[in-house]
């Protein structure tokens, strides 16, 4: 058996038209993870608001998990960050915004800051909905990174909790690794050979990671491995979009500096144009 990895789910609630959907998603997730839910509202506590929230929670069709509601004033980013630490939250749920008139989702500045600074996992939902939309297929990154092992293990756990059945581990191999420029047929042959070699090396690496995953999980979840030679962080988002994945699971980048923001890479591509729901594993 594996232990329960998510014990506390934290969600920020704002009294917007999306309130019901957000709350329902948070309640649903907490129930699926068998975790307790902390709802944080940034602002003054008002009776009318509390009554509204209670009514929504009462309307929730499934079994309501254990929950608490916190009312705190201050700057949203700081309040939520502090709440994450104080409540020892394991996962923070955030909603994304939809670009006007277009089927494009991105996250607002508050959510973006939280994603960068938060010390727990972050789940970005592209469109929270009142009714349940089942998650059945997820994509997780398998790139050579110290945190990848954790991300893959977490992916299996989350998928199992959500009742999903299919997982693709995507290995993004930067094209620079191939280091051969294809000018003519000879260059192409060489680069194809080098790619095969890299593929085999990466395969054995992922296999090693998979050895640590409990057999039971590997049995219930159908998984495969896909290699993509392309821009890191970008290709996986595009892949998840093409494959119509319900959830994309990514490592958090090691450290973000100012340079990383000026020259977007890894996570930034995905944050600016969310292909689907994204879970960022710390």
């Amino acid at each position: 058996m594996y232990k329960n990895e998510y014990n506390t789910v934290l969600v920020g609630v704002a009294f917007s038209p999306n309130l019901q959907a957000n709350v329902f998603e948070a309640l649903r997730m907490s129930a699926l993870f068998n975790a307790s839910l902390v709802m944080v509202h940034v602002g003054e506590k008002k009776d009318s608001k509390e009554a509204m929230l209670q009514k929504i929670i009462a309307d929730f069709p499934g079994s309501t998990p254990e929950y608490t509601v916190l009312w705190k004033a201050g700057h949203p980013v700081e309040v939520l960050l502090r709440a994450c630490e104080d409540e020892k939250a394991d996962i923070l749920i955030l909603g994304a915004l939809k670009r006007e008139g277009l089927l494009k989702y991105y996250i607002g500045s508050v959510a973006r800051k939280l994603t960068r600074k938060c010390h727990c996992d972050v789940l970005l939902l592209i469109k929270p909905s009142v009714e349940r939309m089942p998650c059945s297929y997820a994509v997780v990154n398998g790139l050579a990174h110290e945190k990848t092992e954790k991300a893959i293990a977490r992916a299996f756990y989350v998928l199992d909790s959500l009742g999903a059945t299919r997982l693709t581990i995507v290995e993004e191999i930067p094209e620079d690794d191939v280091a051969i420029k294809v000018d003519d047929d000879r260059g192409l042959r060489k680069s194809t050979i080098v790619k095969e070699r890299i593929k085999m090396r990466e395969d054995s690496r992922v296999k090693k990671i998979l050895m640590h995953i409990p057999e039971k999980l590997k049995h219930t979840i159908n998984y495969d491995v896909q290699h993509i030679f392309g821009r890191r962080g970008y290709s996986i988002g595009h892949f998840a979009r093409v494959k119509r994945a319900d959830l994309l699971i990514m490592n958090a980048p090691s450290k973000l500096t100012l340079l990383d923001r000026l020259f977007p890479h890894d996570l930034e591509y995905i944050l600016s144009d969310l292909p689907t729901d994204v879970l960022i594993v710390r």
Partner: protein, 731 residues
């Protein structure tokens, strides 16, 4: 025992090819040099140096190098502008510009700028080439009619034509003889392709022009009369032409005009060469891929050497290269031999070459200029689309009125403006220009390469797609998916068409999907295609894509009907299992059998209103069954697991077929009926075609392979599968 290397076994045919090419190269080299304001021998120097050096250092296989057409216009204005009227001084200045452009070319080669020509819109390049053609045509027209001192802009030249014709009436007989030879030469050039006589066609047209001129001279010497052609109109070769080397004059290097000329020379020469190399690769019988960057370096080296020896820019030339291929050249040695023969000709026939009038050389170039700006090109541009004609004309006129660099830049700008106007959205480009937009991976199910493009794909970012396509072995199968891409321009489609041809030649396939819903304004298959999100359903009348044409052919072959236009109301999916929550946006490209029992169609649907997903775009086959069947679903990857939401659906095990149960997921609401339905025959059939996903609502079967539209070949396979399945079930 001696090992026979392909180099020596192919030597004979390469020597022969080199000989034939030199027959064409000689008149062209002379004519192009004169037209550029260079001494006549410069053209020969260029071709000889190019032939020798590029055949040693080059990266292409069957190309021929030498002076190019495009350069004539640039070099002539360089000589005129830099020399300020003094042709000799201008020539020495122009040589320094040639040398520096050689250095730039060499640099471009090292910096891997081989993709340079891909950054220019195809229509703008065509406009630039046509502008060169118009200039060449007009200037040489004057020379052909015996007027050697042509100067001025294209407009001045054009308005001067009546004057020129009038002056012919007063011309001396010496001039008239020359003019008549010129006109006869022009007729030869134009009608050569119409004449089918085998012996006549043994000699290439430009050589005929030379032979006519020489024959004229021989006739008069036989009769014993002096050649009546005005001496000024006869080609003159210096006696010491192979020993005296001009010294390039670099003293203009401080002037910006000089650098402008260097840049235009480099631009024209590299674009012309790159386009030629690409075109010749398609002709190569051994289907090799040229190393463009290596070839560029070789061209750079050759240009530098040629400049120091008094020659012009060395470029790759398409017409001479195609003659080379047609004469069974197999490697670069034919380029070397063409240079050797050229040199031999000039040394041996030095005296005879002096009998050729300028007018006949000009006739060759008038014809070349006409080919570059032929009315057929205008018509073709119009057929691709009005906006392409607009870009083409803008570039053409801008180039004629200003200069090459400004002209092509205006063309690029015009293209971009047209794209913004077509999309009515600047943000599409501004927001996504620098983002990566291409995904490539190998599909594990089909082992074919999937290349997906999002946002937009135009000349601005085609290189991103090109890099990926270049990395795929051309023996493989590639699917290029544009369904997430809002805008695809003409340049990209033309380049993709090149890739399709290259892949087909090597046994691979490039198939383009996801373009059928895009809107086109003309019926040309390469017309720009935009996806306008707010648009109502489009009725496809004109502008079928290649995929649609192939689907149509497939329908015809099966004797089915084909309906490309979308239909909104599609009954079948509404009440179909698994698609209950879907709202169908459109069904199009529908192929259906005569009795309407079997059909295949593309469909776009979204999975229910409350679900945030973007809509699915795929190809489905629908089979009506006569025999009643249970309600079930079948697939391997549980892509249809959303069905589990529906009450009463179980995963059904087949105890008698454990491997089948393990590998596939069969679900239904009545396990007993489903088990009875799956006979052993059906189970083995399904196992063999496990990559299809099948749903059955009791009366109809829906078959699907991918979550993307199927390529025509895949569609044909699905149809075969569906028909087989129907036969198995209905008997």
């Amino acid at each position: 025992m001696m090992v026979k290397s392909p180099f020596f076994s192919g030597l004979r045919s390469n020597i022969f090819a080199g000989f034939v090419v030199s027959l064409i190269a000689l008149p062209l080299a002379l004519g192009l040099a004169v037209a550029s304001g260079f001494p006549m021998v410069a053209g020969v120097i260029t071709a000889v140096v190019g032939g020798v050096l590029v055949s040693v250092f080059g990266g292409s296989h069957v190309t021929i190098t030498g002076p190019g057409y495009g350069l004539v216009v640039v070099l002539l204005s360089a000589v005129a502008v830099l020399g300020d009227g003094d042709m000799q001084a201008g020539y020495l200045y122009a040589l320094s510009a040639v040398i520096l452009s050689g250095v730039l070319l060499l640099l471009f080669g090292f910096l891997r700028f081989g993709a340079l020509s891909d950054f220019f819109p195809a229509s703008a390049i065509q406009g630039m080439l046509s502008a060169i053609g118009v200039t060449l045509l007009l200037k040489q027209f004057y020379v052909m009619l015996g007027d050697m001192k042509t100067k001025g802009t294209v407009i001045e030249l054009l308005t001067g034509v009546p004057e020129l014709l009038k002056s012919l009436l007063l011309a001396s007989s010496g001039q008239l003889y020359a003019v008549s030879i010129g006109v006869i030469s022009l007729m030869i050039m134009f009608f050569y392709s119409k004449i089918t006589n085998r012996f006549f066609r043994l000699i290439p047209a430009p050589m005929w022009v030379i032979l006519v001129a020489l024959g004229f001279d021989v006739y008069f010497s036989l009769v014993g009369v002096e050649n009546p052609i005005n001496k000024k109109l006869l080609v003159s070769l210096p006696n010491d032409m192979l020993t005296s080397v001009p010294v390039p004059d670099f003293s203009k290097w401080k002037e910006p005009v000089f650098w402008g000329i260097v840049l235009s020379v480099t631009l024209v020469s590299s674009v012309e060469s790159l386009l030629s190399i690409k075109a010749v690769d398609k002709l190569d019988p051994e289907k090799r891929r040229s190393n463009i960057n290596k070839d560029m370096r070789a061209l750079g080296i050759a240009t530098i050497v040629s400049g120091f020896l008094g020659g012009m820019n060395v470029g790759t030339v398409i017409s001479r290269s195609s003659v080379n291929v047609n004469n069974q050249a197999t490697n670069r040695s034919s380029n070397f031999f063409h240079a050797v023969f050229l040199l031999l000709f000039v040394i041996v026939f030095q005296e005879q070459l002096g009998k050729i009038p300028f007018t006949s050389l000009a006739a060759i170039l008038v014809y070349t200029g006409y080919k570059l700006a032929a009315p057929a090109i205008f018509v073709r541009m119009y057929q691709i689309g009005k906006e392409q004609l607009f870009i083409f004309l803008t570039t053409l006129i801008a180039t004629l009125l200003t200069d090459l660099i400004s002209g092509i830049l205006i063309g690029v700008l015009a293209t971009f403006v047209v794209h913004v106007v077509l999309n009515k959205a600047f943000w599409l480009f501004s927001r996504n220009l620098l983002k990566p937009n291409v995904l490539m991976y190998k599909e594990s199910e089909t082992q074919s390469y999937y290349v997906g493009v999002i946002h937009f794909c135009t000349f601005l970012n085609f290189y991103k797609l090109k890099v990926k396509l270049d990395m795929i072995p051309q023996t493989e199968k590639v699917v290029v998916d544009f369904s997430l891409c809002s805008f695809v321009d003409h340049t990209v489609q033309e380049s993709l068409n090149n890739y399709e041809e290259l892949f087909v030649r090597k046994g691979g396939v490039v198939e383009i999907i996801g373009l059928d819903v895009h809107q086109a304004d003309s019926s040309h298959p390469f017309a720009v295609r935009t996806l306008r999100p707010m648009q109502k359903f489009r009725v496809f009348g004109r502008g079928k894509t290649r995929r649609q044409l192939q689907l149509e052919a497939l329908a015809k072959q099966k004797g089915w009907s084909y309906q490309p236009s979308p239909k909104t109301k599609e009954r079948l999916l509404r009440d179909h299992l698994g698609y209950e929550t879907t709202s169908v946006e459109r069904v199009y490209n529908k192929l259906s059998s005569a009795n309407n029992e079997v059909s295949l169609f593309d469909i776009k649907y979204s999975e229910g209103v409350f679900i945030a997903k973007e809509s699915v775009h795929t190809t489905l086959m629908c089979v009506c069954l006569k025999t009643p069947a249970p309600v079930f679903s079948f697939d391997r990857e549980m892509l249809l697991e959303k069905l589990s939401l529906l009450a009463g659906f179980h995963d059904i095990d087949f105890p008698d077929y454990p491997t089948f149960s393990d590998e596939f997921f069969v679900r239904g609401n009545d396990p007993e009926k489903v088990r009875a339905f799956f006979t052993s025959e059906l189970i083995s059939f399904f196992s063999a075609y496990g990559f299809y996903h099948i749903m059955c609502n009791g009366k109809e079967l829906i078959v699907r392979q991918f979550l993307r539209p199927a390529t025509p070949a895949e569609a044909a396979a699905i149809i075969e599968f569906g028909l087989d399945l129907k036969k198995k079930i209905d008997g």
